[in-house]
Amino acid sequence: MAKKKKEKENKVLGEGIELSYGFFEQRESRLHTLILKGLIVYLISMGSIGFYLSAFDIDYNKQLCHVAILIMSLLCAMLYYRLLVENLGYLFLLLGFLGLVTVFRRYINSGFYAIVNITVNNAAEYFGVDIQRLYQEQIEDRYLTVTCIVLFIGFVLDVFLNVYISRRMQYVTVAFTVMSLNLIPLYLVEEPDPLYAFMLMSGMVMAYVFKSGQHYSPQVSIKRNDNGFVEKGKDKGKRKSELFYVSDIKAMLQAGVTGIIFVLMVVLGVNAVRPRDSFNVGYSGNKYKDITVAAMTTLLVDGWQGFFGHSYDVGGMDSGRLGNVSSVRLDYQTDLIVEFTPYSSGTLYLKGFVGELYNPYANEWTNIMGTNYQLQGKDWSTYVPESEDGQSTDNLDAEYAARNYNEMLAYKEAYENNQEYSAKAAMNIWIMDYAVRQGCSPYYTESSDYIGPGGGYNRGRRYEYYPSFGASGVYTQPEYSDLDLYVPEENIPAIQETLAAAGASGSDEKIIQAVIEYYQKNIPYTIRPGRTPRNADFVNYFLTDNKKGYCAHYASAAVLMFRYMGIPARYVEGYAIDYFQVAGGDLVEDAAYGDYYDGYSELGETALIRVNVTDADAHAWVEVYTPIKGWHVVDVTPSGEVEEVEDFWTLFEEYMDDSVEEDDDNNLNLNNFRIPTRVLRAIFFGFIGLAGAVIIFVAGKRGVRELSLYIKYINAGINDKLIYKYSKFRRKLVKKNQELGNLINYREQIRYIIKMTEKPSDTRDALEIEGEQVIDILERAGFGANEISEAEYEQVTGFLKTATRR
């Protein structure tokens, strides 16, 4: 009631001259102003989206998007019609948004991936590099999915821009926001459709004009009423303040149209003189951009890590470290280039790291060759594989040779004796990724020669080896060490349990087959098994708890299981190249088949093929020793479809999902209708989040107001301080006594406060006398030109304390 009266007060202009409150109540339709703001939001949001998509010629349902985003923009703008509408509107908007996004998430995801892929393809074309597709689109219909993502982005942009446009016309923030992404097509020399350049600039110009005009009915500083005029100025309430109109829709509309016409003329003019298609014809670029092109190429090809000298997670597997990997991220970059003549339809294994000793809880495989060269009764430290040009080899080659030396000799002997199914082959391997720290070689390599760097490749070697076709050989030293049978005690219970479950018994082959089948049936393959928990053992966790994993899990566990069953086994990391990949390789011209292959071939005479081996080919497997075959490859990893890089929603779902199976008791069971625990959890956390957001919003708003008042209070003069203090005091009392709130001047209020006090009559008399002085001080502080004294300030505050103390 008091507030209403205050609003109705005339404005004193001078002695005896007042401006009627009716002046401020001249009404202006804010609805129209909001519609205009919504139009600006539409122009900018649709303009910026269309800007990007038209630059890359991405097709989508334009009519639908224009209409939907326009409607959405107008609805968003309408949220500022009333405070209540705003608060509730945003809530409903959020809920509606979440609902729609959940329903159409696959379309949105695919649309997003489609745009990213198109962008990357354009970038690849511009930079002249070969880039594998980053994302797998779940839905192929790009017209549909891009339309969905446009509507999604339009929705988000509308909400975002509406805050900046409708509230304060912050065109600079808006410009930086919408242009940040739109610089991508411009960088790739792709110009937008003139329509979207026009829309974007029209919206920006309108926002700028309204901001400069300062009469756009800002929703922050002005109460959401329909007043036509308000008072403005630092010295508000004094004589020099300015009376200004809040907004005038006709003038705004005319100014906006002026801006639009101007922008249209410029856009048409520029397009007439310098059309966008021929704008960059003959332009040879500039040195500044050239500098960035190199960096951008690195970024595009190698990612951010390309700027640094190392990359541990993208260069295949060659360290034997396990457990600290939550998911395998593939960059599909070329790790190796391999040249060889295909001779079999089987998988080609290139052996890298060999793990002999499993360290439980440290979750790693180590090989001891680096410190012990006395394996198999031979000093391998001085072993140098034969090479044609006498180039020295390193100890790594010695390691490889040492571990399959006997087998290599057997195959060599078979070849030299022209036995059936024997051959000698050569293979060139170049290591392309600096992240691949350890070399790798084909099985049964006899020698290697250094051939790189050459042709721009690094660390190239030519390996000569004896391909195996499963033929039995005569092994001169069919041996293995105790290490190849060593199983840590910590792993024995889990291994026993798994072997029992797998029913592994009988011959070596049966045991191996039982384990492979057990894996296939019970332990699904995934590239995202999750990180092994701290203080947990990699193999135990895999076998007993997690029961899912990728090749390193299967191979590690299998090695220990085989060893436990008395089968010598080793863990190997390297690259596995399947036949289809080989078939898709490039033919190397001018290469003589005879230089690379001699002997039996399952495929007949082939040719030299060059294959790009990526980190997707990185693999781990098991080497098993059996008396018949010697050391040979056993791949225990079950065949599974290659998982796609999963999207946010899948991750979200997984996050909400329970990692451990829940009992039925944990579900709310209403007859036959069961609500999954995860849904209940989602609802519960959703409500908590919502409640938290509301509390933060309300408390934050109040806090900001209080802080603002406090800052003003600190910097205020003594008069204002007193008035502030008194107002605060009064507000407190009004909560208990509503009648006090209706009293509009200090005299009535102080007298009422005295009347309220429950004091003895003599004390009340004293209060009444002092009250008159307090009234005088308050009036002077509130309306007088001179400052009150400190003593008077203290007197009033003291009085207020006394008056309210019971």
């Binding site: 002695e15 800007f51 300015e242 005038d248 003038a251």
Partner: protein, 364 residues
């Protein structure tokens, strides 16, 4: 060009220059047609806008109309009625900016001077309004006068801000409108009515010393041959044409009221004027003819008016409100005996401190 910049727009200009520099750098870096468009808009936009505002300044006209009654809530439908306003009630000033051009401005600072001529009160205010294309803009300024007198609203100048917000174009206007606000009619003004009538109705017609004790019958336009002293200088100045007071000799007896227009204290002057108005109003309701005499600083002579009807009263006070007040609290009474010896007594209305003093004085 006539435009000038303020600190307010200086920051905007600096911001624009920074933005322009960024866009220029991006254009050089990207060699993009889009940024060429942006640069042209940023360069030509302000020029176009400033030119537009300059033209707007030249073509904009301002009108001020004053009145008392508004008959509609829509500004465009308001009809101003040219009659006197009343103290404590709204009087309206309709301010119109006529814009014949197709250009528009969102921010026109209008510097207004609002004054009460009689009380010598003047205040200045800035009102910000838009100018629409073709139609301009008009709005109502509802003033509530707490003192009687002539309320005058003058548009001193306008400052038109261009759409880019970089320039203000100033135009001196000095167009005004005014309206007269009559005092309140008080019902409880206390004075000795019988004494006043008994003493004052003894006044007789006299032409002593060439003083004109006649009453003004009507005011008409000057005709060659009229006496110079008959010219109504104040009205002539107001209407821009010579007006004369046509006088007739008083043949009946009248009650004389002499208010002191001492302006040292506004509240006291308000009391005097309001009381005089109320007393006279009451008397003419009783069919008593009144002779209002007050000291005119403008003419340095007494101004006198016969009042028989309410309209006479309103006109007389409307004319009186163009007078300047003086500082002596007894100025009008001090010369009465010498200038108007034929008057035996009169009702002298003055203020003593903050107290009203209504006294029947013998003219000696």
């Amino acid at each position: 060009m006539g435009g000038y910049m303020r600190f307010e727009v200086l920051f905007r200009a600096i911001g624009l220059i920074i933005l322009y520099a960024i866009c220029l750098a991006l254009y050089i870096f990207l060699h993009s047609q889009f940024y060429l468009i942006v640069l042209i808009i940023m360069l030509l936009g302000p020029i176009f806008s400033i030119g537009m505002a300059g033209h707007l300044r030249d073509k904009t006209e301002v009108r001020v109309m004053a009145g008392t009654v508004s008959t509609a809530t829509d500004v465009s439908l308001i009809r101003m009625e040219d009659m006197y306003g009343k103290q404590d009630e709204e009087v309206y000033f309709c301010i119109k900016l006529d814009n014949p051009t197709l250009f528009v401005s969102l921010d026109v600072k209008m510097i207004l001077e609002i004054s009460n001529l009689f009380f010598g009160v003047t205040t200045e205010r800035t009102i910000s309004v838009p100018i629409r294309a073709k139609t301009g803009y008009e709005f109502m300024l509802p003033i509530v006068p707490r003192l009687p007198g002539v309320i005058k609203v003058t548009v001193k100048k306008i400052e038109i801000k261009d759409l880019s917000g970089l320039c203000f174009f100033k135009k001196n206007i000095d167009v005004s409108g005014e309206t007269t606000v009559l005092p309140l009619t008080l019902k409880d003004v206390k004075y000795d009515k019988n004494d006043a009538e008994a003493g004052m109705l003894e006044s007789e017609e006299s032409n002593k010393r060439g003083n004109d004790f006649s009453d003004v019958q009507e005011i008409r336009e000057y005709i060659p041959g009229d006496k110079l002293m008959s010219i109504h200088w104040k009205l002539s100045a107001k209407r821009d044409i010579l007006m004369v007071k046509d006088r007739v000799s008083m043949s009946d007896r009248q009650l004389v009221v002499v208010p002191e227009l001492c302006g040292t204290d506004q509240a006291s002057l308000n009391m005097v004027v309001t009381s005089a108005y109320s007393v006279i109003s009451e008397m003419i309701e009783d069919k008593t003819s009144i002779r209002l005499i007050y000291w005119s600083c403008n003419r340095d002579d007494y101004e006198e008016t016969r009042i028989d009807y309410k309209e006479d009263l309103q006109n007389a006070f409307a004319q009186m409100f163009y007078e300047s007040t003086y500082n002596s609290p007894d100025e009008a009474a001090s010369n009465m005996a010498s200038v108007h010896p034929e008057i035996k007594a009169y009702l002298h209305i003055s203020a003593e401190g903050r107290n009203l003093k209504l006294q029947v004085r013998e003219n000696i």
